[in-house]
């Protein structure tokens, strides 16, 4: 009962801010609404017993990626309230396609009966995830560290001042 209430509250926060992201014409409002979506999704992770993932979501996404996007907004707009509008026909087409996509996906998901679960996952300790990272997932982990290095060098190279 309490879980259901919490789910509906967090889902409402996530959905309302996701709608705000999609329909807002102002990029600053979109970025602020994205913060609401990321926070709502982090709360859903807590509800799904993924505590470490919720913390990572808040630290990396809300604390890192979102700040980067806000910096990008500030650096690339002459006025923070700059608006580029797509044409009306484009918006109508996009909304029709999106509504069809959402209804199609929801009908498919609700029509399917999922096989009985293998029992709920017990709350994972951070220790277990650390062990998995260094055993089963060692190769992706190392590839990710190389990727981060490449991204760091690449971003510094791309953003260098023009000679």
């Amino acid at each position: 009962m309490l879980e259901a209430l919490a789910f509906y509250i967090f889902a409402a926060v996530t959905l309302v801010s996701a709608i705000g992201v999609a329909v807002s014409r102002n990029i600053v409002r979109s970025a602020v609404c994205l913060l609401g979506t990321l926070g709502g999704v982090a709360c859903l992770y807590f509800l799904l017993n993924a505590n470490l993932l919720a913390a990572i979501q808040l630290i990396v996404y809300a604390g890192g990626t979102l700040i980067l996007i806000v910096f990008g907004v500030m650096l690339t707009s002459k006025s923070p309230w700059v608006v580029f509008d797509p044409s009306r026909a484009q918006v109508v087409g996009a909304v029709i396609v999106t509504v069809l996509l959402a209804t199609g996906l929801c009908m498919m998901l609700l029509g399917h009966t999922w096989p009985a679960s293998a029992g709920p996952l017990p709350a994972l300790q951070v220790k277990d995830i650390g062990k998995m990272l260094l055993t089963d997932y060692l190769v992706p982990f190392e590839a990710a560290s190389v990727l981060l290095l490449v991204v760091m060098i690449g971003a510094a190279y791309l953003a260098r001042p023009e000679k």
């Binding site: 999609a22 799904l48 791309l158």
Partner: protein
């Protein structure tokens, strides 16, 4: 209705995914498109964690979600560096203006 199951999370994630697509195709600001991509990635992450919790009972979904978050951060860093160059070249962040291979 009061028993929260896998389908609740899947439907929520399908709707967030569709809103992300809507955001991507209706924004002409390059950063708006990036924000739409973040919504889509979050929807995928909800799916991964929900399947991990309700279906497989193993932590693999969490691992995939961690890597998705990492890739999203990397993508945002490179994307914003590219948009800075775009802005330096064209003095705007409107993607419809970026229709030339050379400037």
């Amino acid at each position: 209705m009061l028993q929260i199951g896998l389908q609740h999370y899947l439907v929520l994630s399908a709707i967030v995914f569709s809103l992300g697509i809507l955001c991507m195709v209706t924004k002409r600001n390059a950063l708006g498109i990036l924000i739409g991509v973040e919504l889509v990635l979050n929807a995928a992450n909800i799916n991964l964690v929900a399947f991990s919790r309700y279906q497989t009972g193993a932590a693999d979904g969490h691992m995939f979600a961690v890597f998705v978050i990492l890739l999203a951060a990397a993508e945002a860093a490179i994307g914003i560096a590219i948009f800075m160059n775009f802005y330096n070249t064209l003095q705007t962040i409107d993607v419809d203006r970026g229709d030339e291979l050379r400037h």
